[in-house]
Each structure stands twice: as C-alpha cells, then as structure tokens.
Amino acid sequence: METKYISQSGIEQWFDAIVTSGKRVFAPVNSRGQVDFKPVKKLSEVADEYIQTTQSIKASVYPKAEVLFSYEKVNGKVNLTDFDPESVPETVLWKVHPCDAAGFKPLSAIFNWDTTDKLHNAHLAKTSVISFSCSAADESCFCTSVNGSPGNTAGSDIQLTMLPDGGAIVEILSPKGEALVALSPSVFVADKGEKKEKYLVDLPVRFNLEEVNAKLNKAFNSTVWKEQSERCLGCGACAFVCPTCACFDIQEDAHGSKGRRIRCWDACGFALFTLHTSGHNPREHQSQRWRQRILHKFFYMPERLSVVGCTGCGRCSRACPVDMNILEHITSIAKQ
C-alpha cells in the first residue's frame, strides 16, 4: 500500500484517462431527484452534495436480473449457451462510499460459501473500486457500529480522501488500484503528509456488535420481532437497496423451443419467498420474516461466514415507507 497526493486537475486528468482506456465507469449521478450509480463519461456528470445514493453499488457485481444460460432446440439438437465470464466488461466504480465497498466481502461470502458463483466472481474480477472516504453522514449512518468507518478501506482498490484544495489523499490498496494509477501516473505526486483522519466525519458508535450478537443468540422466540415488525408492509425495498442482501430467485423465460434461465433479485421479506408448493409457509408471518432479516445479518452470517451482513450504510432505513429504522431496532435489541 502506498499513499500519494493528487490535485484537483490531476483528478480530472486521471478520470479522463480511465474513461479513455475503454473501461465502463459507474458513478453517482443526480437525476430524477435521486442520486444513483450510472454509467458516466465525464467527471462533471458525477453528483456532489449528497449523503448516500438511493441504491447500493451491489448491482455492479450482482445485477438485478441476469441470464445464467440460454438454449435453443434446432433440428432436434439443443444448443446451450452458458454465461460467458469474458462478456463482462472491465468496470470502474467511482466515488463508492466505504460502506458500499465493505459490502463486497459479505456479498461474496454468500455467493461462494458452498459452491463458487461463476457470475458474481466474473463481475468482481472485472471490477475496480475507487472509494471516497466520507466527510459527512446523516442520522441513518452507523458504519462505525458494524466494524466500519468513514475511512474504511476494506473492499477498495483505491481510496480518495478529498482535501479542501480540491485535491485528494490517494491510498493505493491493491494491484488493481496500481493498474488504475498507471493509466495516468504523472498526476500522482508525493504524499504531503496530511492526516486523512482530519477530514473524516465523526460518527459515534451506536451499539456494541458483540452485545447484539449475544442478545440475538437467545432472541429467536422473543416477542421483540412482532413488536418491531407490526408496521412492516412486507415489501422488498430494504433488501433491494441493501449492499449485502443476496436473496435471489431463478426464473425460466421459455418461448417454445428456446429460452433462458434468469437469476433476479428476491427478498426474504416477501411472503412468497419461503412459500412451499404444498401451501405451507415456514415463515408465515411478517414478524418471522423480519426476524430472519435481522438474524441473518447480525447472527447467522457472523457465525457461518465470519462476516457481519450489514455495513451500516443506512439505506434500508431511508428507503422504508414506514420508517422501519434498523439502527433504532438493533439499538433497542442491544439494550434489552
């Protein structure tokens, strides 16, 4: 790992160099009154002055809907076209928040816990992450409570910390990061010895993760789930904006002698998610589905995959139509 300095004009040059290299660049763009990741060609398109994008960057490595394979029957013979990892273009994610970058680890842990997921891994291999440390947060942010921080470099290939002069401290964190720097090496100059911590937002720790974990260990039959989930509408908004939610559905798109198999997002909050063909539903009530969501992120994943399934980005709380505030709910569990 190496630390450098880049000036404001250097950032512009470097960004242009990345675009010119032919890589797809996704960055937060302000459109339709929302800030979300979109393909961009110019630095001027990138949004400023926002706390968080509505959706996480997850879709870059786990698309909303993706074709696993397609088939066609021609003259009695079936031609199968498998997913081609080479079809995934080189992608750079620009201005990712540390909480999003940290989401890649839990996401990959799920996709590779028994068999390795070819699609997800292909996307991940082709993706470079340039994160920006956070100088601002809102009341929904709580990364510091889930092993993160506004300057957390986990999951990033490069992290920029913006300085008042428009330049930035550049932390080059991986070979992928080095390759990006190599696209425009002259704009990276010697580190000026500025302390990154000075420019990070101060975000107090709101709950103790071990304490929550210990409480959850005994909470399966608690009444807390029903109490907390009464107003939950059972939509999938929280899951779909989450950087680590990985529930998916497999669907057939069949048309006569040809078709394709599609993997698309699903959510454990949907009643249909666990409904059996027999009609039996092991998670019949919303309270059970809410319990699953919390336990999966804060108990099952730490236990089985050694990683917390929440990065504290706060998107679920912001997206929820009925203010199911995860921070508030976890804090109240910790206090019980």
């Binding site: 979300d36 879709a59 698309p63 074709v67 798109d253 599609i262």
Partner: protein, 154 residues
C-alpha cells in the same frame, strides 16, 4: 405508395367463439378474399380476453391487434361484451397515458352473419398498420434484459 410497401404487418386477432370466429368462418366459406397477415386466436367471449394478452402480442412481434366479438345485446353469455367494452375504455386510457400506440389495437363487433365485415375489418386494419409501420418501438424493449447490464442505457 409509401416506403412501407415491403412491410407486411403481423396482426393478431383475438375473437370470440360465437360471433366473430363464426363470422370469419363465413368469410372463408363465402370465398371472400382478405389479407393474410392476421393470425386468429379464438376465445369463448370477449369478456375472457385478458388485456395483457394484447400487450404480450406486441412484445412477441405483432405490429397490430384486432379484438372482436358479438355486437351489444348479442353476447352468448348475455353481458360478456359489455364488460369487455368497459375494460377496453379503461385499457385504452391507461395505454395512452403510458405512451403505447393505441392506434394499433382495433376493436370491433363482427357477428356470425358478417363475413364481409370481417374481410373489410382485416383489410382496413392491415392498411392502417402498414401505414404506421412496424411497432419497433415496443419490440425493441421487449428483449431488453441482456442490454440492461447495470442500469445501462439501451
């Protein structure tokens, strides 16, 4: 002639079993010639024709759609076509709001005795759709998935 002379419109007709299907049959037995662009799908009643079928036709490559059944008061099930008519009014309004080209859906009443009306209906609809051209706008987005990638523009 227009530039669409080479374009042969694909038209799907959703018709009721009791009137329009019998009417179309009469067209044939009366040896009336009409455009071959139409593929007929027979339903028990116009009341049974789900509005989404019309959209599915466009998604699968149809350039125009005909929906036809018994004249008012002639429904085999008494009121199926009255219910259908209400649904069409609403459906046209939704589609227009969403920007779907409602000129491509032709509604009609064709009775079992109106073999020549059926031939005229098909011929006129084919001419109308020929003038409008292929419904590429709709078909383009029907198979959008691969291109979608990550919120990518088409």
């Amino acid at each position: 002639m227009s530039s669409n002379t080479d374009f042969e419109p694909k038209i799907i007709a959703f018709v009721c079993n009791w009137c329009t299907y019998a009417g179309a049959d009469l067209t044939g037995t009366s040896r009336l010639k009409y455009a071959t662009n139409v593929k007929i799908v027979r339903f028990p009643c116009t009341g049974r024709i789900d509005f989404l079928l019309l959209l599915k036709s466009f998604a699968q490559g149809a350039d125009g759609v005909i929906v036809s059944g018994c004249h008012p008061n002639d429904c085999h099930y008494t009121s199926g076509n009255f219910h259908a008519r209400r649904r069409w009014i609403a459906f046209r309004s939704v589609l227009d709001l969403m920007g779907v080209d409602i000129r491509r859906i032709q509604y009609s009443w064709v009775s079992a005795a109106e073999g020549s009306k059926w031939a005229d209906l098909v011929n006129n609809t084919v001419a109308d759709i020929r003038a409008l051209g292929p419904y590429a706008e709709y078909q383009k987005v029907a198979d959008y998935l691969e291109k979608e990638g990550y919120n990518e523009e088409a």
